[in-house]
């Protein structure tokens, strides 16, 4: 008998009688406006710079003033293609992104309680893009902010993705004597554009 059959047989023999799954019901009593405030507080703790912007031209102005001097910037947002190199599909080896200084990507939605932004492969083309870039900027619509992770998975349910990731701030580590250092392997800094 193969290991698979042996393991499954032994597990079936030893698993205890059925215990029912709970029905998850966590009430959210706060308002959307309060979630936006909670998100901003959380992002501040996470060392994320937040810009509240009305539209893409406001994002462009900020990018040109603060970020575009960077040598290589790429974006997966078509509306920003005149200020940054637009990537609309996977054309070359992902290793070619190793010298990207700034990547500007959209997120489906954000979560106020932890500052996490939900991003899937269709929004970034290259899976490694939000990790390999030195700086990351994320654009998310204010309407697409939920409060907690239960609401987040309600939004994710039934959607199609091959790879998805919650991103909550720049890459970091505190492995050396619990001292927080930003930029462990991924981005050293993160900016969030709250749109609308």
């Amino acid at each position: 008998m193969s290991s698979r059959e042996n393991i499954l047989k032994e597990v079936l023999k030893n698993q205890p009688p059925d215990r029912a799954l709970p029905v998850i019901d966590v009430a959210v009593t706060t308002t959307h406006a309060e979630w936006i405030e909670a998100l901003k507080v959380r992002l501040d703790i996470l060392h994320v710079t937040v810009h509240e912007v009305a539209d893409y031209s406001a994002i462009k102005t900020i990018l040109q003033q603060e970020a575009i001097p960077q040598e290589r910037t790429v974006t997966t947002i078509e509306a920003l293609s005149d200020v940054s190199t637009y990537i609309d599909s996977v054309k070359e080896d992902a290793h070619s992104l190793e010298d990207v200084d700034l990547a500007i990507i959209p997120a489906h939605f954000g979560v106020a309680e932890n500052g996490a932004m939900w991003v899937t492969d269709s929004l970034i083309q290259y899976r490694v893009l939000p990790f390999i870039t030195q700086q990351l900027a994320v654009v998310v619509s204010k309407n697409n902010i939920v409060y907690n992770m239960h609401q987040a998975y309600e939004k994710i349910a039934g959607t199609n993705y091959d790879f998805g990731v919650f991103i909550a701030g720049p890459s970091k580590t505190a492995d050396i004597e619990q001292s927080l250092v930003l930029g462990a392997h991924g981005p050293k800094g993160m900016t969030l554009f709250l749109l609308g």
């Binding site: 290991s3 698979r4 042996n6 393991i7 499954l8 032994e10 597990v11 079936l12 030893n14 698993q15 205890p16 059925d18 215990r19 029912a20 799954l21 709970p22 998850i24 966590v26 996977v90 992902a94 290793h95 190793e98 979560v111 309680e113 932890n114 500052g115 996490a116 899976r127 490694v128 990790f131 390999i132 907690n148 992770m149 239960h150 998975y153 309600e154 349910a157 993705y161 091959d162 790879f163 998805g164 990731v165 919650f166 991103i167 909550a168 701030g169 720049p170 890459s171 970091k172 580590t173 505190a174 492995d175 050396i176 619990q178 001292s179 250092v181 930029g183 462990a184 392997h185 991924g186």
Partner: protein
């Protein structure tokens, strides 16, 4: 498995030789416990979440064979190749054979306690494969040729000066430099080069979803993603107990995991791997290694609910003052002390005794494992099997004899008080384990029985 000392108490003596350092270790971990408290107190429904998590895990254990098959079917449909390993040796062989098929002899690895449990690095290195651990803490202990001492904070026992010395030796940083920012930047450069040149990446698995066939990996550094997305081959290794029934259960577990571990509301990255990239091969290795037998033990199966947050380690007064290495296993602390005897009762017979049974571990556990009750139950099993500490055996027998004879008990009590008063050196010496690291208390003037007679008559 790693250490030559296989007795917790003996290893703890070594750890306690440097008292200021023990105090530092103790305080560092307590600081993390306090951060956990703040994060959990911010959530009004924290106790409900623990109860949900516990119930979901109970359901998982009671339907594990079905969920494993469901996950396998969905993962295969997603294009992932699924393997099953009965034990550590088969796991190591499977990983090696995947690398051989692709002619790969250098691999990056992100944190996986399972591969520590299986001794994968040693196995691959003996077979000519270079493995580089990419979690900063794990890379540090790898350079120091030590195992991790903590499942979330692998090098929590190391001082920055020691890390500076290691980096000077291996990564060419300046001699004497110990600034965490400087050292982290050096590791970043060294590991980026590694990520860009390795064709295989191995990661652990935090949660695998039966409903969708996807698996979730949580990191703060982004090392799992840097490795996996740049590699031609991604191998993910998981213990069979890591499966969850439904995708929305992640809402419960991702709220609990990082808050319990480090006090963060979530890790920086929670990556959901579902379908391999077009040019890529993705493998999952299910590992049993004693878990299916463990599942059959009514008193002990609960420990299979563990999500490896390490809250029980950070809160444990014994762990904080004895260090992770003294538990001589990949998973240390209270949870390690109840998991490891399931795999090898003889080799780990000392661990259920490495506790004060204070119960703090059970109070912080996000999935409500009855850790201190299981420690107590393991002691019963070990004493019955004749595997209890020998000094304990003799002293228990003596105590039973004295307690059965009231007159003798009175005399012994009086004698002990006299000894403590006039000749304290008889107990305050190295032969008495209770004297280690502490002073003996002042003896009372009279016994409770004498006091009661005087005051109640």
């Amino acid at each position: 498995m790693h250490s030559t000392i296989t007795n917790h108490a003996d290893a703890a003596i070594d750890f306690n030789l440097d008292e200021p350092r023990v105090d530092w270790h103790d305080k560092t971990l307590w600081f993390i416990r306090e951060k956990r408290d703040m994060a959990s107190h911010n959530i009004p429904e924290w106790e409900e979440l623990r109860e949900y998590a516990s119930q979901i895990k109970n359901n998982v254990l009671s339907n594990l064979s079905q969920y494993l098959q469901e996950f396998e079917e969905k993962a295969k449909a997603n294009g992932i190749i699924v393997h099953w390993a009965a034990d550590a040796e088969e796991h190591n062989k499977i990983v090696h054979s995947i690398l051989q098929k692709h002619n790969i002899d250098r691999m990056v690895k992100s944190k996986s306690m399972l591969t520590e449990e299986c001794g994968l690095n040693e196995y691959l290195e003996a077979n000519g494969v270079e493995v580089i651990d990419t979690d900063l803490g794990e890379r540090i202990v790898q350079l120091a040729k030590e195992p991790p001492s903590h499942i979330v904070l692998p090098c929590i026992h190391k001082k920055k000066e020691e890390i500076g010395e290691l980096f000077h030796q291996y990564l060419g940083t300046e001699k004497g430099a110990s600034d965490p920012k400087y050292l982290t930047a050096a590791a970043r450069e060294h590991l980026r080069e590694t990520f860009l040149t390795r064709r295989a990446a191995l990661t652990g698995v935090n949660f695998a979803i039966a409903e969708t066939g996807e698996f979730v990996v949580s990191t703060n550094e982004g090392n799992a993603d840097m490795g996996a997305h740049l590699a031609d081959v991604h191998i993910a290794c998981m213990g069979i107990e890591k499966v969850l029934p439904k995708q929305h259960h992640l809402g419960v577990f991702l709220r609990l995991l990082a808050r319990s571990a480090t006090g963060q509301p979530i890790t920086t990255y929670s990556s959901h791997f579902k379908v391999p990239q077009p040019h890529q091969e993705m493998h999952i290795v299910f590992v049993d290694n004693g878990r299916s037998v463990h599942l059959g033990k009514d008193d002990f199966r609960n420990s299979l609910k563990c999500i490896r947050c390490a809250a029980c380690m950070n809160t444990c007064p014994v762990y904080r003052r004895s260090g992770g290495h003294s538990y001589h296993n990949a998973v240390a602390g209270p949870i390690g002390s109840i998991l490891t005897p399931n795999f090898d009762m003889r080799a780990n017979k000392d661990l259920p005794f490495a506790s004060t049974l204070c119960g703090s571990c059970s109070n912080v556990c996000p999935v409500k494992i009855d850790i201190h009750d299981q420690l107590y139950k393991w002691r019963q099993v070990l004493m019955k099997e004749g595997l209890g500490p020998t000094t304990k055996n003799a002293s228990m027998k003596m105590m039973g004899w004295v307690l059965s004879k009231p007159a003798l008990y009175d005399i012994s009590g009086k004698a002990a008080r006299l000894v403590l008063k006039y000749t304290p050196f008889v107990v305050s010496n190295k032969l008495n384990p209770w004297y280690k690291q502490r002073e003996m208390p002042a003896p009372p003037k009279e016994s409770f029985k004498e006091w009661y007679k005087k005051n109640r008559s």
